[in-house]
Structures are given as C-alpha cells and as structure tokens.
C-alpha cells in the first residue's frame, strides 16, 4: 500500500472535539461527517485540502472522546492517511478498526511543510517527503494488527471469525 498526497500539518494534542465537534455527532455517515472536519480549528480546511492529502501531526493526535466519528470524518473528507509522533489510544484503535491508515513515527517531522508532497509506503515503513527529498522511517505494525489491517478492519475480521465459527459448529 503506497499513499501519496499533500501534507496537512497539525500540532500536538489535536483532540476529537477539534476533529469533529459534538454538535455534529447526531450524524453517522462518513461523507456528511467529513463536511464538518476541523470546523472550529481550521474553518477553511476543506477548501484548502484535496482528496488524498495526508495529515501530519505531533503527539497525542485524537485525544479526548471515544467518538469513532473522528476517524470517520477524516476518512469521509478524503484524507488518505494520518502520520503522527503518537496517537491517543482510543483514536488509534478506532482508526485501525474503521480502516483509516495511520502511522506512528518517532522521527522529528518538523521539516515537513504545509503542502509538501509526501508518500507513505506501509510495507517498507517509509515516509518520503518528495518535495524535499527526505526519507523518514516509521514503526511497522505488530503481526496482530497487520492481520486486522490486511483484512480491512475489525468488521471483516469479525465476519470471518463468525463464518469460521459457524462452519465449525
């Protein structure tokens, strides 16, 4: 899986209220949710970004509530991946479960600028800033998660298990 897009920069501690505010939570459709992504933090974000863009963030991205609406809104707006130095735990889980590709790197990403074209190679564990010709490494998924991601998230994982169980029964 290789993902390529323009970098959209976010700082540390981007909480789920900033990603999608509570007043939009009665919505469950990801495209609709995506229309209010970062509404309070960057009101113009949706006009600035293009489909396939990649969010580059600092520490603790997605802290706060357990709303799956947050990774869904990011997916729904057309963001292809999120790269950060660390993710809040529930956001990490939700992103894996709903199939939003996210990557953790301990490398300093400060030299990536807004709009730089970056490319993420999930299998090799590399992130390339094509504009600046600079390569970063990120941590590969542990086997258990790789399996989850490869089947397309928790739903498929569960469906497969239930079907296997039914066959065994």
């Amino acid at each position: 899986m290789i993902l390529e897009g323009a970098a959209r920069l976010f700082g540390n501690n981007i909480d789920t209220d900033l990603i999608i505010a509570a007043r939009y939570l009665a919505e469950t459709d990801q495209t609709e949710l995506g229309k209010n992504l970062f509404r309070d933090l960057r009101p113009n974000f949706l006009n600035e970004m293009k489909k396939g863009d990649i969010i580059v963030a600092g520490n603790n991205f997605g802290c706060g509530s357990s709303r799956e609406h947050a990774p869904l809104a990011i997916k729904g707006a057309g963001i292809s991946a999120v790269v950060a130095n660390s993710f809040a735990r529930i956001f990490f889980r939700n992103a894996i479960n709903v199939g939003l590709p996210i990557f953790v790197t301990s490398e300093n990403l400060d030299s990536i600028e807004e709009g730089n074209v970056i490319s993420v190679n999930a299998l090799e564990g590399t992130l390339i800033n094509k504009t600046k010709n600079k390569t970063y490494k990120f941590d590969p998924y542990p086997d258990f998660l790789l399996n989850l991601v490869e089947v397309g998230g928790l739903f498929n994982f569960t469906k497969n298990r239930l079907e296997a169980g039914a066959k065994n029964a």
């Binding site: 209220d17 009665a26 799956e68 809040a88 939700n94 928790l154 739903f155 298990r161």
Partner: protein, 419 residues
C-alpha cells in the same frame, strides 16, 4: 515475575497467561453504548447478518447524551436503538424516566464488579476502575462487534502505580486529587497505561471520590484507572446486594513502568484552566476569574455526595445575581435521593436550575450552552476549545465544592471563603 491487576484480569479473560505488551482476544463481561456511539455500533452489528447478540443481559444501551432527545436526529437515533433493544430482547435499555448518565448508572445497576473486564463506546468507561474492574473506552465498531462475539482485541497495557498516602482536609475531594495528578503528569502522562491506585491513603477516599478519579484517568491518557479493593468497595457492593466478588490484587513483585505518590494532606483546591485538563493551578494562585455559568453534574461529579457538598455550601444563600447555575443529578436514583434529602429544594430556593439527568451541557449538547466569550466553572471533565458551546467560550474544571462556592460569588472561589 509477578502480575499487575491489569495483567491478571486480562489473563483470566483470555484463558491464557498474558503480560503487558501482549495482544490478546479477551472475553468481556459488559458491553456499553450510548445514544451517540450506539447507532454506529448497531449498524455495524446488523451488517454481520441476521444474528443474535452474545448475551442479552450483558449489553447496556444508555441514551444519556442528548436526552431528553434534543432534536429530530437524536430522536431518530434513539428510536433505532429502542427497536434494536426490543428486537434483541436487551435487558438494559434506558431512556427518559429511567435514564441517567451511563457511568453513574452502570455501577448503580450492579453491572460493574471487581475483576470484570468491561468495554464501553465512551471514553469515560474507565470510571468503573473505582470498583476494581478493568474497564475502558473503545469505539463503536469495537462495541458492535463485541455485541456479536462477546470478546474483542486488546493490547495488555503496562501499569502506572499511583500510591495514595495521607488524609485530606475538609472539602478536598476526588476531583482535586485527579486534577492534581493530571496536572503533574500531563494529558499524555499515562497514555496507553493502566493506572493502579493503592496505598494507605485509599481509606480516606469515598467510593464517589474514587469514581471521580477513575473517571478522569482518560484525561491523562490512561486506558484504565483501577483501584485496589478494600472495605470501602466492599461496603458499596454490599449495599447493592453484591457479596464476595472476585476481586484482584497485584502480586508483590508486579512490574510497574512508572509510579507517583500523592499525599492527600498536601492537596489544595485544584482547578483546570482552558483549554486542557492538565492546565491546573491551585485556586489560591488564581487571579479573580468571573464566570457566567456554573455547572454541577456529569459522570465525573453528578453523584449524591457531590450534590450534598454543593447543597451544603449553597443552602440558605442565593446564587449570585445574573449567574446561571445548573445542577444535573447523574441518575434517577441520585435525583430521588437528592429530592428526599431536600437538596433539590435547596438548589431551587437558592436560584439554581435543576435538570433531569442528562450529559447535556458537559459535551456542549444542550441544556446550558455557552455563548461567545462566556466562562463556565464546571464539575465536568473536559475543557477543550468549544467543549460547552461557542468556540470562544471557556470552561474551568473544578470540584463540586469550588463550583458551589463560585455560584454564590460569581467568580471562582474557594469554599473556605464562603463558609
């Protein structure tokens, strides 16, 4: 190598020996969803086909956030959950008349017990750690799939020991303890960790103090905030008719990756300033901060002892002119107790509004939304940008005692100043 409480609970629920860092599929005792997260869970569940839930008594659907339904969308969502609950014969489905805030209700219903592994599609599911359970927030898909299988995947967390010593002065509560802790270690200080609360000072923390502390474990990133079991827990469970539960103790040589000691006797009233729960300060160091609204309630501080403290400070007084003071009992049970004890009357006579149990303003849902530039002192758990309304409004987190004292003066006030 000895095991932490978290490692023991996961080993038991995985039917194999697991340790911190391991990935495991573990059986869960309770799956919880609410009116915001539940619809997504149910939609995912239904996509699995025409199947039954794993156990109709082990699923709780608590429609608390926008209750009583604030608009058409939330009404539609609850309607969908209601139909699902009926179709699946789910025992624990709650809406107005019977509904309270999920994290106040789940323990009241006896659904959270020592040694349990509980997941809830709500980040404050960590609240039940107060009862020596491993309980943690997950996403909607997690909860939906667990409704089908009765298990889900986990990474067994490393543990962070919080040793409590000493005895606090009057009016210092669990809220001051947990705000102090979060201020010390930061919003990421326990990211992915299970906090384990132990020490001789535990006996000075009431069960409601403990619920408040475990509730906010997530505010420093904690996956869980588990208390050791003691006579305080035992008494609470006994009152609910729960006898001899399977509680869990850490081994003497259990491995902790981090630890901190909190001396209750050194604590002062602690508040958390916008826009992050770790932006804490001692109330005496605070410059005069005027407020437009006071909120007393939520899954952090909407229990009976919270209302008792607030009523004691407010009673026989009037709330400051022009101030909106909103009291939200956490559950019908809390409401009724407060009513019978005369607390509700005291609040109303003082000029406060008393609401039906709901999350309401805590997440900026309804029942007390802030306008531009308004400031609210609140007993809730998050003061993020826009959390309670307008993106330019502000929330200061405080204990019920501080919130009640501030209700009388109109600025953030120490209870000692008004009593």
């Amino acid at each position: 190598m000895g095991k932490t409480v978290a490692e023991k609970i996961f080993s038991k629920h995985s039917n194999k020996d697991v340790k911190s860092g391991d990935y495991t599929l573990a059986k869960v005792d309770i799956v919880l969803v609410n009116d915001i997260t539940g619809p997504l869970s149910v939609m995912e569940f239904q996509k699995l086909g025409n199947i039954k839930v794993f156990d109709k008594e082990k699923i709780a659907i608590i429609c608390d956030h926008f209750t009583p339904n604030k608009d058409i969308k939330s009404a539609q969502n609850v309607k969908m959950l209601r139909n699902f609950a009926k179709g699946q014969n789910i025992k624990h489905f709650y809406e107005p008349g019977h509904v309270g805030i999920e994290h106040v209700m789940v323990p009241e219903l006896g659904l959270a017990r020592p040694g349990y592994l509980i997941i809830g599609a709500d980040s404050h599911t960590c609240t039940y750690g107060a009862l020596n359970a491993f309980s943690t927030g997950v996403g909607s898909t997690d909860a939906g799939m667990a409704m089908a299988t009765g298990d889900t995947w986990f990474r067994v967390p490393p543990s962070f020991k919080v040793e409590i010593v000493g005895k606090q002065k009057k009016w210092i509560s669990g809220k001051d303890v947990v705000l102090h802790l979060i201020g010390k270690i930061g919003v990421e200080g326990a990211n992915y960790f299970a906090l384990e609360f132990c020490g001789e000072g535990l006996k000075n923390l009431s069960i409601d103090d403990r619920f408040t502390i475990s509730n906010m474990a997530i505010e420093c990133g904690g996956k869980a905030g588990i208390f050791n079991y003691d006579s305080v827990t035992e008494q609470y469970l006994n009152d609910l008719g729960i006898k001899a539960p399977d509680y869990v103790e850490a081994d003497k040589d259990a491995k902790y990756e981090n630890s901190i000691t909190i001396d209750l006797s050194s604590l002062d009233y602690t508040v958390s300033l916008p826009f992050s729960p770790d932006n804490t300060t001692n109330i005496n160091k605070l410059e005069k901060t005027y407020v437009d609204q006071v909120v007393i309630g939520s899954c952090t501080n909407g229990r009976i002892s919270d209302l008792r403290i607030a009523a004691e400070i407010i009673s026989n007084n009037r709330v400051k002119d022009g101030l909106r003071v909103i009291v939200l009992p956490g559950s019908p049970k809390v409401y009724l107790e407060a009513l019978r004890e005369g607390l509700i009357e005291k609040f109303i006579l003082a000029g406060a509004a008393v609401s039906t149990p709901t999350c309401g303003p805590c997440l900026g849902g309804h029942m007390g939304i802030l306008a531009e530039d308004e400031v609210c002192v609140s007993t809730t758990n998050r003061n993020f940008i826009g959390r309670m309304g307008h993106p330019k409004s502000k929330v200061v987190l405080a204990s019920p005692a501080v919130a009640a004292a501030s209700a009388l003066t109109g600025y953030i006030t120490s209870p000692e100043e008004v009593i």
